[in-house]
């Protein structure tokens, strides 16, 4: 296959499928109890310098307890998969936990605006960036999940997004047409928030899956946070809805309202007031520091954070918003 052009930015992760196979060969397939706490899961699987991916879509079905815990534990020099990341990116940038990012969507919170603090961090020169598009990153995860070293797409061609990527333009051996080869990406660790999981990690996601089915199969280690733990027999009653099987999973943490202040389909809507508060307080670095102390560094757990955000009363209000029915 002829290489016709290549992106100039660094490739942060090795796309060798045999090294990945060697890793997955030794990963346990035993159906054992994997229940733990967010604190222990982060201590064990999110180590300084490792490459991290966060599931969901920015402020929708995000594993926010893990995101907060990574910041609270002060992880440094992580690689980060900036794929459909919004509030998760904002929180991780607040902790300055990463120094290299594969970026398709960062610093923004969609219609809500841009995170000033995340922008400051990205404009500081402290973070190395390689550009991609959302589909290019999903295709990288899909290639990894398939155990091959690259995927093919027709996106990014002809643009600076390609030039600043680590992809290559190749010639199709059948048609002679140009395609973009994107290298497989096996993150060291990923965290995904789901609706239900059993103690072995068999997980059920309701609503859109974003790129989480590919991510779950690409990540070397996978932390599942679940709105609720269910008995294995519940999983077995309807195995058609299981989309992440136990052998992909390393840790299972039960975190009710675990996507807060993000949206959790069919359960609760996003807390737009709290997200607006984040964006507002970032304008003043001193105020922002106090804000982080109050909501992240000064609490012992995500549960305490929820209490500081209004606790069950607030959660009930967000549950009501999710029904899309007017009073």
């Amino acid at each position: 296959m002829k290489v016709l052009d290549e992106g100039v930015n660094p490739l942060f992760m090795d796309p060798d499928p045999d090294k990945a196979r060697d890793f997955f060969r030794q990963k346990t397939r035993a159906m054992v109890d994997k229940r733990t706490t967010e604190k222990e899961a982060v201590e064990k699987y999110v180590t300084d310098g490792c490459y991290l991916a966060i599931g969901g879509f920015g402020a929708n079905r995000i594993p926010n307890a893990i995101v907060h815990e990574i910041v609270r534990q002060g992880r440094k020099n992580l690689g980060f998969l900036g794929h459909t990341s919004t509030h998760d990116f904002q929180v991780l940038a607040a902790g300055k936990v990463f120094n290299r990012v594969d970026s398709a969507y960062i610093v923004g919170l969609e219609a809500r605006g841009l995170s000033r603090n995340a922008r400051r961090y990205m404009e500081s020169g402290e973070v190395q960036v390689t550009e991609w598009s959302n589909y290019a990153l999903a295709a990288r995860l899909r290639a990894a999940a398939e155990g091959v070293s690259f995927g093919l797409t027709r996106c990014m061609l002809g643009t600076d997004t390609f030039k600043m990527s680590a992809a290559k333009v190749v010639e199709c051996p059948f048609t002679g047409k140009k395609f973009v080869a994107v290298p497989a990406l096996w993150p060291d660790v990923a965290a995904i928030h789901v609706h239900e999981a059993d103690m072995y990690g068999n997980s059920v996601i309701r609503g859109i899956s974003v790129a989480d089915l590919e991510l779950a199969r690409a990540a070397k280690h996978l932390i599942i946070t679940a709105e609720r733990l269910v008995n294995n027999s519940i999983i077995r009653d309807d195995p058609t809805v299981t989309s992440i099987p136990f052998y992909l999973v390393d840790a299972v943490v039960e975190v009710p309202f675990g996507s807060y202040p993000g949206n959790m389909p069919y359960l609760y809507f996003s807390d737009e007031e709290h997200l607006a508060q984040w964006l507002k307080v970032e304008k003043d670095p001193e105020e922002f520091k106090k804000f982080l102390d109050h909501y992240i560094y000064g609490v012992d757990s995500f549960e305490d954070y929820l209490v500081r955000c209004g606790g069950l009363k607030r959660m009930e209000e967000l549950q009501k918003l999710e029904s899309f029915v007017e009073d």
């Binding site: 929708n60 970026s103 841009l114 589909y135 999903a138 899956s209 974003v210 389909p265 069919y266």
Partner: protein, 256 residues
């Protein structure tokens, strides 16, 4: 008496008329979503709305705040994922997509990545997200934006998403499939692209706007055809549906 409207309402009504019935449209939040919802309630009841995060043909209960929030697959026919949506574009089954950005050049290339030098950006923006994918893979892409010189530039600081790249033959040479920019809808005019050169041209001027005003707000030379159309202002019926059914909370139309 002609009904009163603001510029955002005008842009949404104009955009909605370009969305043909029975076609598919990938939308973001805000004005594009409002345009697609309005089209469904007026000229194109069978228009299919798609969201990049996985929502297929939702019955939107309200304006989404995120392209992945629950409303984007409320009473949808499928709650899929990004690979499903983007491969649908790649197969050639998505007709329209809306894009946005900080800069657009005369060939419809768009910058949503950074201002200034890439490695030392003056301003860092989100980047491509799904925009490059839609711009590469959908048949017709559209932009809704305010018309100002700082946005309509001779050359983007960074080409995040492809328009016609360097002009005629640009997409073919790069290996991109057929497709590209279709309409640019601003608060002053509707722009299209010259069929042979693919340079941006004025197609219709909004009520009360003349071509020299549009050119003055554009950082490159627009193609100005001898005969330019006049944009049909929003009808009373379009405005009623937009205000009462599409955006009663005025989340988008209140921004003008």
């Amino acid at each position: 008496m002609a009904p009163e409207y603001n510029m955002m309402e005008l842009m949404i009504c104009v955009a909605s008329r370009y969305l043909e019935d029975g076609k598919t449209v990938a939308v973001g939040t805000g004005a594009p979503c409002a345009a697609a919802m309005l089209a469904q309630k007026t000229n194109s009841p069978e228009l299919v709305i798609l969201f990049e995060a996985g929502g297929v043909a939702p019955q939107l209960p309200q304006m989404p705040i995120s392209v992945g929030d629950s409303s984007t697959f409320y009473r949808a026919v499928m709650a899929a994922g990004m690979v499903e949506m983007m491969t649908t574009c790649a197969r050639g089954q998505v007709d329209y997509a809306f894009l946005g950005g900080a800069q657009i050049d005369k060939y419809g290339n768009i910058n949503s990545t950074c201002i200034g030098d890439y490695y030392k950006p003056k301003v860092r923006f989100p980047g491509s997200g799904g925009a490059n994918d839609f711009a590469s893979l959908c048949w017709r892409t559209m932009v809704m934006t305010v018309h100002e010189k700082a946005r309509f530039v001779e050359k983007c600081d960074f080409v995040t998403s492809p328009g016609f790249l360097g002009g005629d033959g640009g997409r073919e040479e790069a290996g991109l499939p057929q497709g590209g920019p279709y309409k640019i809808i601003t608060d002053l005019a509707v722009m299209g692209f010259d069929e042979s050169t693919h340079a941006m041209q004025i197609e219709s001027l909004h009520p009360g706007v003349e071509a020299d005003k549009v050119q003055a707000e554009t950082g490159f030379e627009l193609v100005i055809p001898a005969e330019i159309g006049r944009t049909e202002p929003p009808t009373a019926e379009e405005l009623r549906i937009l205000r009462d059914e599409v955006d009663p909370g005025r989340l988008v139309i209140g921004r003008a």
